[in-house]
Symmetry: C2
Subunit: 302 residues, 2 copies
């Protein structure tokens, strides 16, 4: 089996596993599936959940697209007349309860071909990261510990490297604060003398397999936590920062918007209800202020 | 009096006039004023209204800033070691009632100097545009008629030109729809053989003076209009498109975010409460669908 076929088969299966588990947890809402085709080649399977008991809005999407490399990407990669294949799973979950963090994950594989159809480049990318509204240290430690365990099975340098890249990437530079408390981010994982594409496949699928272990125990622990309107307001204000990151800084989102991607699949990442309050500042010493301190100074959790 | 001093004095006075009139209309909320200084030179007077009877959130801000031209703007204008002065009034109003449109306006003046401090370039820019959630044709006609009258006092070509530029600029290309029903947009209004900077000053201040006449009658007509939760949901969903435009496409916002502008003054334009609903489509033949049709095909209102 080619790497391409192997990874497509992996993400299809992973999408099923994740959706099944999330529906069990929610108990009320079910994922709605949209199959879509890309006019220039390929398509996707978007699955969206909304107005659940646990998940207010979320999407777990896969796509497999191919064709001529769009002009803007040819320029970006410095190639001409290239063709490509890309596939990946992308998910974002926005829970109802402000004590349950938002989570984002993505695992993807890319191939590039010359005009004769010869494979000239290939790589994996992805990661997973957590965005809490209230900070429970034990949840942050649990999430990062699962990320670290997945990484350590392959190389002890992976966790520190990809944790650092996650803190650097998911950063709202205009606010001088991180989007959340991080996790893993990696890209352009290519074959080297010491590591084959199969090694990278094994690594990325280990991370993908770790997702439910990283997130589900946190949801189960916090989903019945009591909350008041003030907690919910804070969650909606912080969701505004999530929107700001995705629309101003996220390369994947902007790339999709500027190259005629499927808008609704790209923007399913945006939260359901959001507030912007002028110059909102949490009270000194509050739980809200403690979250901001950590977002301004990313911590080593494990 | 220099052009700079004249325009600064004009926007200070206009800010007072607009805020006074809007407070009269609201009857409940008052503008809160924040004076701020820019470390590299200049500052501003931000005035924000929130949780009013008519205005859910709004800002009417002036700024007067000067100093070395930021590196990114030097590159943009193709100049070196330039200094600048910029001043302007910028306003956005988000009403409570979905039958009352959101409005945006901006009038600004820019000067550029060589390293010896000689004035090497100067221009005006700005405009005003309307974003309804429900379309009352007579309101759209009224707004555009006031814009046209202000333009026609100076040149019969201004209204068609600046109306067209407004439709082109305030466009969510990723949605293939306009942000609203337009108005006026102009930039780089510079002295020519047939038109002096004083002529442009007279034109821009005529437009500034027309703002209350363009917007206030619409507010007065619609502010007591009955509405249901479904209208409010639609307003919040459409406000999401407003956020998408401002964060993805608006050059002024992105420039501010990427050059260390005062974040809270820049992002006061974002609506107070917003929704993103996956793949939301209004029912065929509904008022909501009629709005979308007009946004997808900008009309000539006068």
């Amino acid at each position: 089996m080619t790497m391409k076929d192997a990874f497509v088969s992996y993400i299809r299966n992973l999408q099923d596993r994740i959706c099944t588990r999330l529906e069990e947890i929610d108990g009320l809402a079910r994922f709605q599936e949209d199959l879509w085709k890309r006019p220039q080649g390929g398509g996707g399977r978007t699955r969206v959940i909304a107005n659940g008991a646990v998940f207010e809005k979320g999407g777990v999407n896969i796509s497999e697209v191919h064709g001529e490399l769009p002009k803007s990407m040819q320029d970006y990669f410095g190639v001409k007349d290239a063709h490509f294949f890309a596939c990946g799973l992308s998910l974002v979950l926005h829970p109802v309860n402000p004590m349950v963090p938002t989570v984002h994950a993505n695992w993807r594989y890319f191939e590039m071909y010359d005009p004769e159809g010869n494979l000239v480049d290939q790589w994996f990318g992805g990661g997973q990261d957590l965005t809490p509204y209230y900070l429970f240290d034990e949840d942050a430690i649990h999430f990062h510990q699962v990320c670290k365990t997945a990484c350590d099975a392959h190389d002890p340098m992976f966790y520190p490297n990809y944790k650092h890249r996650c803190d650097t990437y998911f950063y709202n530079s205009h606010r001088k604060e991180a989007r959340g408390i991080g996790g893993l981010f990696f890209d352009y994982l290519k074959a080297t003398e010491s590591r084959s594409m199969q090694d990278w496949y094994d690594f990325v699928t280990t991370v993908g397999d770790s997702f439910l272990d990283a997130y589900v125990p946190i949801v189960e622990k916090r989903q019945s936590h009591a909350f008041a309107k003030a907690h919910r307001d804070w969650q909606e204000i912080r969701r505004g920062r999530y929107v700001e990151f995705n629309l101003v800084h996220d390369k994947g989102t902007l790339f999709g918007l500027k190259t005629d991607g499927r808008i609704e699949s790209i923007l399913m990442s945006l939260p359901p209800k959001v507030q912007w309050v002028y110059d909102h500042l949490p009270a000194a010493g509050s739980e809200e202020a403690r979250l901001l301190e950590v977002l301004q100074n990313p911590k080593d959790w494990v």
